[in-house]
């Protein structure tokens, strides 16, 4: 069964067509890669899925529900979480609070109950805390939990973004260039982490990534975007040997 379906999604900015009739269908528990040259529309696609943009045409269906015109925070609460290409942590919150922030939207007792310190909300706060610590263990940041987020190294910040996204208990996780700026050891670690997350959390992952090694290694299926169009889709093997892909990456005539 598919978790997320994009039907004929188009996005225009002024006269520019950033996405052109894109169909995508993400299956349960799959790791799906989206690749393409700069400006191909990959991040635009993420912004549409998470509700930052309302697509000019087409519809998005997540777990049987239409996402068009649903506000971003509700989409997040429904179970789509993301990380950002240029890291966007809450720099002046502690590592722990960054993760907890992700839990607040999906927690049941409201802000008022929290402020009055009602027993129900205190129990929930405890659950949120233990959940956050677990996530920090998972991304190996538990011992830095009281640091400000902006004191972390680059690779640590990327892992913290993943932990914060997981605090939403998503069914679909969008990773926007998670390997950017990482060295090869860190990339190995990241791939291991992504696989563990999928197994532990039973979720689907969409990965936008420039690093072909990473994409080909962990994705089960890959879609290729070029100038806002999907020019190919298939397994890593199929993509490697696809003529249209080779042309768009190496240029016509290659």
């Amino acid at each position: 069964m598919s978790v997320l379906t994009l039907e004929c999604i188009s996005q225009e900015f002024g006269g520019l067509r950033a996405l052109d009739s894109v169909y995508l269908s993400i299956e349960e528990k799959e790791i799906f890669g989206i690749i393409g040259p700069n400006g191909a529309g990959k991040t635009t696609l993420f912004n549409i899925i998470t509700g930052i943009y309302v697509p000019t045409e087409g519809s998005l269906i997540f777990n049987g529900q239409r996402l068009n015109n649903v506000p971003a925070y509700e989409i997040a609460q429904m179970g789509i979480a993301r990380t950002f290409q240029n890291i966007r942590l809450f720099n002046k919150l502690s590592v722990l609070d960054n993760v907890r922030t992700g839990s607040y939207g999906v927690s049941h007792s409201g802000f008022m109950a929290g402020m009055l310190g009602l027993p129900s909300s205190r129990r929930e706060e405890k659950k949120i805390l233990s959940n956050a610590l677990q996530l920090l263990e998972l991304v190996d940041l538990a011992d830095k939990r009281y640091e400000y987020a902006d004191n972390l190294s680059y690779g640590e910040q990327r892992r913290l973004e993943i932990a914060r996204a997981l605090a939403l208990e998503p069914k679909l996780l969008l990773l926007d260039e998670p390997a950017a700026g990482m060295n090869s050891t860190e990339k190995e670690e990241l791939m291991r982490l992504i696989r563990i997350i999928r197994e532990q959390r039973q979720l689907s992952i969409i990965l936008v990534e420039h690093d072909m090694n990473v994409v080909m290694n962990i994705c089960e299926r890959i879609a290729v975007l070029d100038y806002g169009r999907k020019i190919a889709q298939g397994t890593p093997e199929e993509i490697k040997n696809d003529d249209a892909v080779i042309q768009s990456y190496l240029g016509a005539g290659a």
């Binding site: 971003a72 979480a81 993301r82 809450f90 720099n91 919150l93 907890r100 922030t101 402020m115």
Partner: protein, 291 residues
């Protein structure tokens, strides 16, 4: 003499700080200078006056009632005048809308009550305490205590509670907050409610302290508090507290040691100086422009 002036300055300063907090919290989250904030303070003063005059309540019920009323007023103003503009039009439109609300509210009160100054009924016996050679009035003690209590409470709320963390998250990255499932509009409403309640508390206490309320009292107080917020670093909550107190003390010292005709000039001279020398304020962060 000096210590008495210092107490006077701190008293005035804590009311500036209470108002400045509303400016700075709202600015921190939506980057809007809420020019209607001074009028919320004025409405707070009148709401307290109404409660005292109509029901003969004591100062604490007047404070609580005025704070509750202004919470509602602040939320309604945000809902009607700012939210429809957010995201759809430039920040300048919201600023102009704020100026419009400011004029609307003060004129509304002038229509309802006339433009004359109203005196507060006697709400408490006026005692004077002597600390050595320093004289402190009971109202000064109340202003200092209530302000301190409110500011400590605010700080605890921002640091410890869920909504406080949500507010901090929103002030750092509002879009990322929404993508983490935080209902940003609700956090903004809450911020307006809290800021307005603090301003209302300031309004009631100033009304009683100076024994005068009038429909345009929010204009000057609002501008002074705004200067205090800029002095402390707009967007910074501790900054607004420090800025308010500093401004109050400097103003009173200026009156005491220079001349009372400089009273209003001092606040704005400081505003201009801060903007030239240290635009991020005492405790604000330098904003590096995103490219």
């Amino acid at each position: 003499m000096f210590f008495e002036q210092l107490i006077n300055g701190l008293t005035l300063g804590s009311t500036y700080a209470l108002i400045a907090l509303g400016y700075t919290m709202v600015y921190g989250i939506v980057q809007l200078i809420n020019f209607a904030h001074g009028e919320i303070y004025m409405f707070g003063a009148f709401a307290g006056l109404f409660l005292v005059a109509a029901f003969g309540v004591n100062i604490f019920w007047a404070l609580l009632g005025a704070m509750a009323f202004c919470m509602l007023l602040g939320v309604v103003v945000e809902r009607i005048a700012y939210r429809p503009l957010r995201g759809k039009s430039s920040r300048l439109s919201a600023l102009i809308s704020a100026i419009g609300v400011s004029i609307f509210l003060s004129t509304l009160m002038a229509l309802l009550r006339g433009t004359n100054t109203t005196r507060y009924p006697q709400v408490m016996s006026d005692k004077t305490f002597h600390l050595g050679s320093v004289e402190v009035s009971s109202m000064q003690v109340i202003i200092l205590l209530v302000s301190a209590l409110l500011m400590v409470g605010l700080q605890l709320m921002i640091q410890k509670t869920r909504i406080g963390k949500a507010m901090r998250a929103c002030s750092q990255d509002i879009d990322a907050s929404a993508l983490m499932g935080i209902n940003v509009n609700r956090v903004i409403s809450f911020t307006f409610a809290i800021g307005s309640a603090l301003a209302a508390a300031g309004g009631v206490m100033v009304g009683i302290y100076y024994n005068a309320v009038w429909p345009y009292m929010g204009t000057m107080a609002g501008l002074k508090a705004f200067s205090a917020a800029v002095l402390g670093g707009i967007g910074s909550v501790p900054g607004a507290m420090v800025g308010g107190l500093t401004l109050g003390v400097m103003e009173i010292m200026g009156v005491a040691y220079l001349s009372s005709s400089y009273k209003d000039a001092i606040a704005f001279a400081i505003l201009i100086l801060v903007l030239i020398v240290r635009p991020q304020g005492l405790m604000g962060q330098k904003i590096s422009k995103k490219v």
